[in-house]
Symmetry: none
Subunit: 202 residues, 2 copies
Amino acid sequence: MKELTIQQKKVLQCIKFYIKKTGFPPTRADICRELGFKSPNAAESHLRALEKKGYISIENGASRGINLTDNNSEKSETIPVIGLVAAGSPTLADENIEKHIPYQESLFLSDFDYFLRVKGLSMKDAGIMEDDLVAIKKTTDVRNGDIVVARIDDEVTLKYFQSSGKQIKLIPANDDYSEIDIDKDTEGFFIEGKSVGLIREN
Amino acid sequence: MKELTIQQKKVLQCIKFYIKKTGFPPTRADICRELGFKSPNAAESHLRALEKKGYISIENGASRGINLTDNNSEKSETIPVIGLVAAGSPTLADENIEKHIPYQESLFLSDFDYFLRVKGLSMKDAGIMEDDLVAIKKTTDVRNGDIVVARIDDEVTLKYFQSSGKQIKLIPANDDYSEIDIDKDTEGFFIEGKSVGLIREN
DNA sequence: ATTTTTACTGAATATATGTACAGTATAAAT
DNA sequence: ATTTATACTGTACATATATTCAGTAAAAAT
């Protein structure tokens, strides 16, 4: 399945919300209203892009003729919550799973694989506090400024990612912590994934 | 639930079948084609009968605006997202509702009534950043240390709550902002609710 | 360097669609 | 006995809606 852009994801999400809410798909104008577009053609082109990528099918000429394809049917799975411990890797091994919480497909703009329970305050200036649940998408495709889950041997941390060539900086959002400089090819160094959202249970 | 006639059952079945097949409800003409009627008004009257008996709801003026009622399909509720503007009150009036997102019962420890879209950084040291969605439970039962939605006339803010007797302090979590001292009985002062959770969409 | 994709605004239009109105006819309820 | 509900045909029409065309602009791919 081809990847969607952020805007396309928003439109797809909007369609799902609309159907859930009303029982029938939105018109182009409805999508514009929900997402703030001023031209129906904005919605139209996004729909055609979603169709091309296989996420929806469109019945030409039919009003509200949008059909979500089987693969993105709303499934209610559960997502594991993994404890981020000072030393220890966040694997999906059973002993590290704190609990499961119900999966809500459309909760964030991106899909994600697990929640990380935050320990410590190394990212407090980014608004990430102790015991927060950070939604992590498993990927190595990270960009400068992304908040990433990085592993160095057994040590796992949540930090800002900043790279220039082979040199990578893992930057905390807290003056009491110092940044980590590391070479991309250092043995035992991995990017486990990146943050795509956050939940605080209070 | 009122009993349906044989023809009404056929029409209801037809609607369900059509949605399962196409992903969206039928038009009057579609129903006519499926059931062999020669006038769209035949379908129309059946739909109005089904609506009257509570099996469907119809959104007037909307094409394919047929919604199977709860007994036919279980759907999750949605929770409104309200923009927190510098001056203006967070009411559930339509004009203030930014969008709706699906309700997940067990998302937070407490139930809640709406999400507040945070503007500004007055609570940044509490890990509440701009554009975060704070889950608000409508209540006046708040305790010291709670993060509350307080209104003073038209001004609505999110602050820490601290009271001693009749004297209430609304304390920001940001040194750039100053705290608000107010008397419990000041006219135009209300506690709208308190924060019970947070979502960051990234 | 050029094409393609993404991401829109804005206007125009054919047609898809809901819906009202005018009938006909039978069965059920009051 | 009269009203109401059921069950349609048939016509008409305003408007809801999909969709095309003409642009602009920036990013990504080739």
